[in-house]
């Protein structure tokens, strides 16, 4: 045999295509080996480059979000002493008369809202160390405080009217421009007429920061406030609840239907045209652009069924339809991974087909199903386009009580903030919201990976 092989090579010695004669197996630089090695090196280099470019993109993407986003988690306060004078807050002496409820009604009335601004103004002049008789200066000082500050103060007083008459040392939310200045978005080098803070205000802010009258803190309101046109007061509260409701709906709709469909297709379906049609369908649905699901939701759930616009219920249903293929594909894979011997053993001891599936196969496939479901949920949580179609990008300033009340979602809130005009203030805010979203996604995906690692079973 060996002889044969050798003699074959011998007869085929002049390689086809190569120039015969000057290339032989014995001379040093044959077949352009150096050239070929160089080509090999180049090729490898291209591969490394491709991977590095992809990773660089990832770094830039995350870096740009985080470098802006961490500032969004900071809020700026003016620390003032507020004297809640009864003469302004309670001119009718209702508190002394003991009729607290009446006082609440009075304070809640929009007509009396001015009282809170009147109370705040002197406190701010005091903290800034300005003489209120200089009207121009006074106006510029007042502009340092957020216009949401009176609202917040009102909420506080309404919660406890007995505060009236006391002097409170408390933080007031600073205006969005002050906040943006401290975060470096408003720059001193910009000509005065091109920025919204005057030189006088900037000096004042610098001075107050030095004295500790303006401080930064962690922005817990980002998670609790509703959205607002005033960036300093805008929060993700409604969006978080809306997204939470939608995840519940997706879990309640897509998981049972997805698992049921996979069980049928994997365990019971006869090989016929209908089964084939369903399978082709599911594969195609997985690749349908997400916005098309939104159009479906708009046409079917809202226009035809008359479900309310902007409701997490509708958003959740749309996302369920979108997640269904993901869950079905994952569930089928994990059902398939359960060896037939399990089923045969169950049938052998007298279980019905249904019992063998529900009592034996399904529990063994559960970790895989859970992993697939979490990944599907993560996909649904980040989806925006279909939600725009069903009105989840509305401007909602009231907390939804039911899944049918108007709400937004994390991604659609990000979309809304990304389109606000006041980029100086909304850039960090939007990035912070994105970080919150990514955090949730990371946790979900990490859980899925852990589940897979922990329960993965090779039969």
């Amino acid at each position: 045999m060996t002889d044969m092989a050798q003699s074959d090579i011998g007869t085929a010695a002049p390689m086809p295509g190569g120039a015969p004669g000057d290339r032989s197996l014995t001379s040093g630089n044959t077949f352009g080996i150096r050239r070929r090695r160089a080509a090999e090196g180049r090729f490898k280099f291209y591969g490394v480059m491709a991977i590095s470019i992809a990773l660089i993109f990832l770094t830039i993407l995350l870096g740009s979000i985080i470098s802006k986003g961490y500032k969004g988690f900071l809020a700026t306060d003016l620390n003032v002493e507020i004297d809640l004078q009864p003469s302004i807050m309670d001119p009718n002496g209702l508190l002394a008369a003991g009729s607290i409820e009446q006082l609440r009604d009075e304070l809640q009335d929009g007509v009396n809202f001015l009282r809170f601004s009147q109370i705040i103004a002197p406190a701010v002049y005091d903290a800034a160390g300005v003489d209120p008789s200089n009207r121009d200066q006074a106006r510029e000082v007042r502009a340092l405080v957020s216009r949401s500050a009176p609202v917040l103060l009102r909420d506080q007083v309404l919660a406890d009217p007995t505060l009236i008459g006391q002097t409170l040392e408390m933080p007031l939310l600073a205006g969005g421009d002050v906040d943006a200045y401290l975060k470096g978005y408003v720059k001193r080098e910009t000509p005065e007429q091109n920025r919204r803070l005057t030189d006088y205000q900037l000096n004042l802010v610098d001075d107050m920061v030095e004295r500790g009258a303006i401080t930064q803190r962690f922005n817990t309101e980002l998670f609790t406030n509703t959205t607002s046109k005033r960036p300093e007061a805008a929060g993700l509260g409604v969006a978080l609840i809306g997204s939470f409701y939608m995840m519940i709906v997706v879990l309640a709709v897509a998981l049972p239907i997805g698992v049921a469909a996979s069980i049928y297709l994997e365990e019971f379906a006869p090989k016929n045209t209908l089964t084939d049609a369903i399978e082709v369908n599911i594969n195609n649905l997985a690749a349908v652009p997400s916005i098309v699901f939104g159009i479906l939701g708009l046409a079917v759930f809202i226009n035809w069924m008359g479900l309310p616009n902007s409701a997490p219920l509708v958003g959740g249903l749309v996302l369920s339809l979108m997640t269904l293929p993901t869950i079905i594909i994952a569930t089928r894979a994990s059902l398939k991974a359960v060896p037939p011997s399990i089923r045969e053993a169950a049938l052998g001891v007298g279980a019905s087909k249904m019992q063998s599936v529900f009592h034996h196969v399904l529990p063994l496939a559960l970790p895989g199903i859970l992993t697939g479901t979490i990944i599907g949920l993560a996909q649904a949580l980040g989806e925006t386009a279909p939600l725009l179609m069903v009105g989840m990008d509305a401007f909602v300033t009231r907390y939804p009580e039911l899944p049918t009340d108007p709400a937004t979602s994390l991604p659609s809130q990000i979309y809304n903030w990304a389109r606000e005009d006041d980029r100086n203030s909304f850039d960090p805010k939007t990035s912070a919201a994105i970080m919150v979203l990514l955090m949730f996604l990371a946790i979900m995906n990490f859980t899925a990976v852990l589940l897979r690692k922990r329960f993965e079973r090779r039969w």
């Binding site: 090999e40 090729f43 019971f268 652009p289 916005i291 159009i295 046409a299």
Partner: protein, 490 residues
């Protein structure tokens, strides 16, 4: 809310049915009777029998309700309104609003009202329902009829459903005995349920196609198809809520699809130019050259790119890539471009689909049989030569399929282009110009105050249908290529 109450009652009844059925089975068993199935199955059977028929009746009633109410509401409409179906639709929905408002008014006020327009308006104003300006007397009468209908129909439906549930409960409960094969019946119901669940997938597709087809047909009744498919100007104009006739240029907007398709194709092309080389080369490197350690780190990291939501890419394009590209281009003398451009959207979309291309190609390259590689190595080829001359040609059909799949994803992508591509529909070669895509226009035509009878809104459904068909064809072709390619090596 009444539907929820009824549902609650039915669920409660079916739970009671379960307990009763199970108890009876246990009692019979203890009395020495030989039952076919275990007690739980008897309980389950009673429970299902109690719930299902009543639930079906309830669902039918709920589905029929709007249709009947439509007829009730429009019964008193004058003939000239009924002649115009679009106007009837509008007025019926206004009538429904009036009815919703009247429901909020308390009973006493409602009966005291003379149903003169002014009184109704002020009464509804007090409960916070604003009536549309064009409410007329017959709508208010219609609204009252709708409410009357609801008041009579609701108790009837409620009673019928509960009666059916109770009857079924009683009958199945009594039928429990040695001859009843409860388990088989329960299993048949469950099996049907499983079949129905897998039918949801078909229903969804059907829903997508039908809903979009329906609205598209209405659109094509107003705008001829050739103007849509071959039109080169996109200028839909505006129509205010409440108007049905066209405003805008000469009373008729122009709905040319071509500029949108051009923008879509151009952006996708740029995206593919970025994603395909990077994705393919990294897949090749990962599967042929990289050691297990590199693979263990690099692969999940690249896949992180796939897990980032598209809105994040959109924001990234809007605030980082867009201004960067703008500043770069504007340093060239004589160039002046904005931040929204085809290039911005294309580059960011390209980044987004890198992991898509790389993981698909990775699968495909791994499916090339080891024997082909061994053959090439045996002939003395280097790794790079093997990849270039053996693996890639062998994997080519699969890679083409992968690229098609990636392209269909790029075409359907929405958030990046909404935020970063711009809104001007035009056909231009310059990649630094803002252009727009099919998905952008779907979003802009369907968000905000929309009148669903105007071509301005309906065009979105035609666009959606176009998008659906294009991506579907690409997917089917791609999946077929990939499958054929896999079979080739199996």
């Amino acid at each position: 809310m009444s539907a929820f109450t009824l549902l609650g009652v039915l669920v409660a009844l079916s739970l009671i049915g379960f307990v009763l059925g199970r108890a009876r089975a246990v009692a019979l068993h203890n009395a020495g009777e030989k039952l076919h199935s275990r007690a739980g199955y008897h309980g389950g059977l009673v429970s299902i029998a109690t719930f299902l028929p009543a639930f079906v009746v309830m669902s039918v009633a709920l589905i029929a309700q709007p249709e009947i109410e439509y007829n009730v509401a429009s019964a008193n409409f004058p003939a000239e309104v009924l002649e115009d179906p679009i106007r009837t639709d509008l007025e019926v929905s206004a009538t429904r609003n009036v009815a919703e408002g009247l429901e909020l008014v308390d009973e006493a006020t409602r009966s005291r009202l003379q149903f003169g327009l002014i009184e109704v308006r002020s009464a509804l104003g007090e409960v916070g329902v604003a009536l549309p300006a064009n409410v007329t007397n017959y709508m208010i009468i219609g609204a009252r009829d709708v409410l009357d209908f609801r008041d009579t129909a609701k108790p009837i439906v409620f009673g019928v459903c509960v009666a059916i549930a109770l009857l079924a409960l009683l009958l199945t409960w009594r039928s429990i005995g040695s001859r009843l094969r409860a388990r088989n019946m329960v299993e048949n119901v469950v099996r049907t349920g499983l079949l129905l669940a897998s039918g949801i997938a078909i229903l969804t597709t059907l829903g997508i196609v039908l809903s979009m087809l329906w609205e598209s047909i209405r659109f094509f009744e107003m705008v001829p198809p050739q103007h849509f498919f071959f039109g080169t100007t996109w200028n839909p104009g505006f129509v205010n809520v409440g108007e049905t006739e066209l405003a805008g240029s000469g009373g008729r907007g122009s709905f040319g699809l071509l500029p949108l398709l051009w923008g879509t194709a151009y952006i996708s092309l740029i995206a593919l130019l970025i994603a395909v080389p990077i994705g393919l080369l990294s897949a090749v490197y990962m599967s042929e050259f990289a050691g297990p350690r590199t693979r263990a780190y690099a692969k999940p990291l690249i896949e992180v790119l796939a897990g980032v939501p598209t809105i994040v890419y959109g924001f990234f394009a809007l605030v980082t890539v867009g201004p960067f590209i703008r500043d770069m281009i504007n340093t060239i003398p004589g160039m002046s471009v904005g931040a929204s451009s085809v290039a911005t959207a294309g580059v960011v979309m390209g980044i987004m689909i890198i992991p898509f291309v790389s993981s698909l190609s990775d699968d495909i390259i791994n499916a090339v049989p080891q024997s082909l590689r061994d053959g090439a190595y045996g002939l003395g080829a280097t790794k790079a030569e093997t990849v270039r001359q053996v693996i890639l040609p062998a994997a080519l059909p699969g890679i083409v399929g992968a690229v098609l799949l990636a392209a269909s994803r790029a075409i359907g992508e929405t958030m990046i282009v909404v935020l970063a591509a711009g809104a001007t529909a035009k056909i231009d070669i310059n990649p630094f110009e803002a252009m727009t895509t099919v998905t952008v226009k779907i979003v802009s035509q369907l968000t905000g105050d929309v009148e669903f009878t105007s071509p301005q809104a309906l065009v979105a459904f035609a666009l959606g249908l176009t998008l659906f068909v294009v991506t579907l064809v690409m997917n089917i072709v791609a999946l077929r290529i990939v499958r054929k390619y896999r079979e080739q090596y199996e």
